[in-house]
Subunit: 205 residues, 2 copies
DNA sequence: GCACACTGTTCAATATATTAAACCCGATAG
DNA sequence: CTATCGGGTTTAATATATTGAACAGTGTGC
């Protein structure tokens, strides 16, 4: 019997619920996930119902079968219950950054007060407008979709072109730049996806 | 139905090495960590040497004793392989889901093989097209930006309207529905942000 | 030399995680 | 109705994770 030391800040993660949620969201039966992961379906049932403490290897197999990372199964499912929300963003009430010298302006579609792993922007380019970014955190990816005009994307020196109603996804952990191509205004939707914010630095020895 | 091929993306995490590193970095003996975590020191020894597959509960106790999050023990020591990438998505080479009976089609701007906490979609609505979604994981938020036509958003029964070039952000952990308003086609960009884990967020047919 | 305190390893006993098969239940046929 | 199937649960047998104690090495001081 464990002495239950005083440093038990929270409960062990309810991994069963997470697995059940993931499995349900993919419309997989226990048998399906068993085939995908190599874990017996009886075991999966017991894990989902919290009747056993699965081995790390088994949890890893399940994460593999579900196509998620191990860490994704460990996050608390309902740490905070936000409540139903609906926010309407117009050009007026939406925080907008203008960069007149560079010929573009950016609407920030995220609320800035919440820490997010993704940021959403709407970028309007004047002709010859250019938005240059320093490298972001390693692993950051950007997805840009053009809705008006045409945009040129430089990624680490390489130059690419994205036409209207098309999309490009590229590494943003290197110097990169978005530029209005042609003489018409351009409108683009930019999603910046940061890697998961874990990576607690190892303490100095 | 789906004969998923061998999915052995990587090896199970070398958690023993991580624990040994953390323990060494704090100058803790096996006995110390045993006292802190409540796991027997023999067990810790075997785990560090990779001789056993620890139970998730034990790994969690060790993480607690070390004062780190569970995820911190699971990260590969140096698994980050940046590699500069640029992917161009057109309507042709982009996975598209059509739902002819419901009058909309969806381009998936994420690659499906990478685990993300955000999913990006481009949705084209026919007049009267309607995309209904079951609730996603608690805490999921959706951001929809309209680029053509007008879109009606139902969130948990409440009805809202988003005009062209405007944006709405709303809770997606309740029943919700996007609908073409008016008799013109509508084009919308949809970003689905999950709290932490990834989840398939495709509409219910 | 011995005894001691400390490290980390390994051993026998026990608890339990894991499997494959049996089982239960609702739906859909026939 | 009975049969059958797929979904989920439970069960008996096995494998193995976990424990506490015994073991081995390493200095340290007397």
């Amino acid at each position: 019997m464990s002495a239950t030391p005083e440093n038990t800040p929270s409960a062990p993660p309810p991994i069963g619920q997470m697995i059940a949620q993931f499995r349900a969201s993919r419309n997989h039966s226990l048998q399906d996930l068993s085939n995908l992961s190599g874990v017996s379906k009886g075991m999966i049932s017991q894990i989902e119902n919290g009747q056993v403490n699965p081995t790390l290897a088994v949890v890893w197999k399940l994460a593999s079968g579900l196509g998620v990372r191990l860490q994704d199964l460990l996050d608390e499912p309902d740490a905070n219950k936000p409540g139903i929300e609906f926010i309407y963003l117009t050009k007026e009430n939406c925080p907008t950054l203008t960069s007149p010298g560079h010929g573009y302006e950016v609407q920030i579609l995220n609320t800035t007060d919440m820490v997010e792993t993704v940021e959403l922007y709407l970028v309007r380019f004047m002709p010859n407008g250019e938005m240059t970014s320093a490298p972001h955190v390693t692993g950051t990816m950007e997805t840009v979709t053009v809705f008006q005009g045409e945009v040129e994307v430089d990624v680490d020196g390489a130059r690419h072109r994205v036409k209207s109603h098309e999309t490009a996804r590229y590494s943003a952990d290197v110097p990169h730049c978005l530029r209005c191509a042609g003489d018409k205004e351009a409108l683009a939707y930019l999603a910046v996806k940061f890697p998961a914010p874990n990576q607690a630095a190892l303490p100095v020895p």
